[in-house]
């Protein structure tokens, strides 16, 4: 699994690098500074982070054989993951409403594809967790095959750390990005 994650590192790495290379090269608005909503995204970031916490707790209780607690915490992961996806859906709709789509400018292109791919990872994770929660409920996920959950957990945490990077790089650092230098006059002139 770690080898797979190493592979996924390159996958996201390439997307993030593309974003960074193209950062601040949008030729027309909306620019990041006009559109990114830090408070909302902070909440969704926090939600995803806490889902990682729920994940380790779930794993712990599976290992200690406390079935109900385990099921509960895995369900919490599912719910928090779904909430995160909900936030992302709302965000995408909001951006589209404000006039930013993947076609609008290079920021839109890189932003939507990067976060969209991440969202796809979250979706896979949520489905996977839902399956495991069902298994835990039915009693097929036990201490002796807790490794199944552990692997899923590694995947989940990985998706989380990718978001940590995305949140920092795309949201916090880029949030003040306006038009590229020399473009202000083009817009106002």
């Amino acid at each position: 699994m770690w080898t797979f994650l190493g592979s996924d590192v390159m996958f996201f790495g390439a997307f993030i690098a593309t974003y960074l290379v193209y950062r601040g090269k949008s030729l027309n608005g909306p620019y990041p500074s006009e559109i990114l909503n830090i408070p909302i995204t902070s909440v969704s970031t926090f939600v995803l982070l806490m889902s990682s916490l729920a994940m380790v707790l779930g794993l712990h209780y599976v290992k200690s054989g406390e079935k109900n607690k385990a099921t509960l915490w895995i369900l919490v992961v599912v719910v928090l993951g779904a909430v995160f996806m909900g936030f992302q859906f709302v965000e995408f709709r909001e951006f589209a409403h404000l006039g930013l789509t993947p076609r609008t400018n290079i920021f839109g292109t890189t932003f939507f594809i990067l976060t969209g791919i991440h969202g796809a990872h979250v979706t896979i994770g949520v489905l996977w967790m839902a399956f495991l929660a069902y298994g835990s409920h039915k009693g097929s996920l036990r201490a002796d095959n807790a490794q199944d959950l552990e692997i899923a957990g590694l995947y989940w945490h990985f998706v989380d750390i990718v978001w940590i990077v995305i949140f920092t790089v795309i949201y916090l650092i880029s949030a003040t990005d306006g038009p590229p230098p020399g473009m202000e006059s083009v817009i106002h002139g």
Binding site: G6, L49, S52
Partner: protein, 148 residues
């Protein structure tokens, strides 16, 4: 410091404060990963009391809280004016801290076989190195055509 930790964390109860261990409860687990180094290693030994191979929930809550606080700190930094050139490195540092926190503790890389750490860290290092080169190339090596 060591004594303080012992007082704070000693709990002879149901394993709530059990901390992650190496593969066994030997004093110097041979397979502990390199993250954290000797200092952290000693700290954990102090904080660990039982022969349990995995952490108790208390420890996870602690890490979770720390990660949450770092996130809050990041968002707070976003509102702080006048950081100037410090803003980006500071944020990168904080998120790196979060990153390591999740990888080392939630993904228990800290307590797994060293090989896993090498696998993951080498992939990360290679990725970061290459994509930093790409950034440099894009910045200095090539000017995009001026379309105006």
């Amino acid at each position: 410091m060591t004594n303080l930790w012992r007082k704070l964390t000693y709990h002879n109860g149901n394993g709530w404060w059990n901390l992650p261990h190496g593969p066994s409860n030997e004093l110097n687990p041979p397979h502990e990963g390199p993250i954290g180094g000797v200092w952290l290693s000693n700290m954990f030994r102090t904080m660990t009391h039982g022969g349990v191979a995995h952490a108790g929930p208390g420890f996870y809550w602690l890490i979770g809280a720390a990660l949450g606080i770092i996130t809050l700190l990041e968002v707070w930094l976003f509102g702080v004016e006048g950081l100037g050139g410090w803003y980006v490195p500071l944020l990168l540092g904080l998120s790196a801290l979060k990153f390591v926190g999740v990888v080392a503790f939630f993904m228990h890389l800290r307590f797994d076989h060293r090989m896993f750490t090498y696998v993951f860290v080498s992939a990360m290092a290679l990725g970061i190195l290459i994509f930093v080169i790409i950034l440099f190339l894009a910045e200095f090596g090539h000017q995009p055509p001026n379309v105006f």
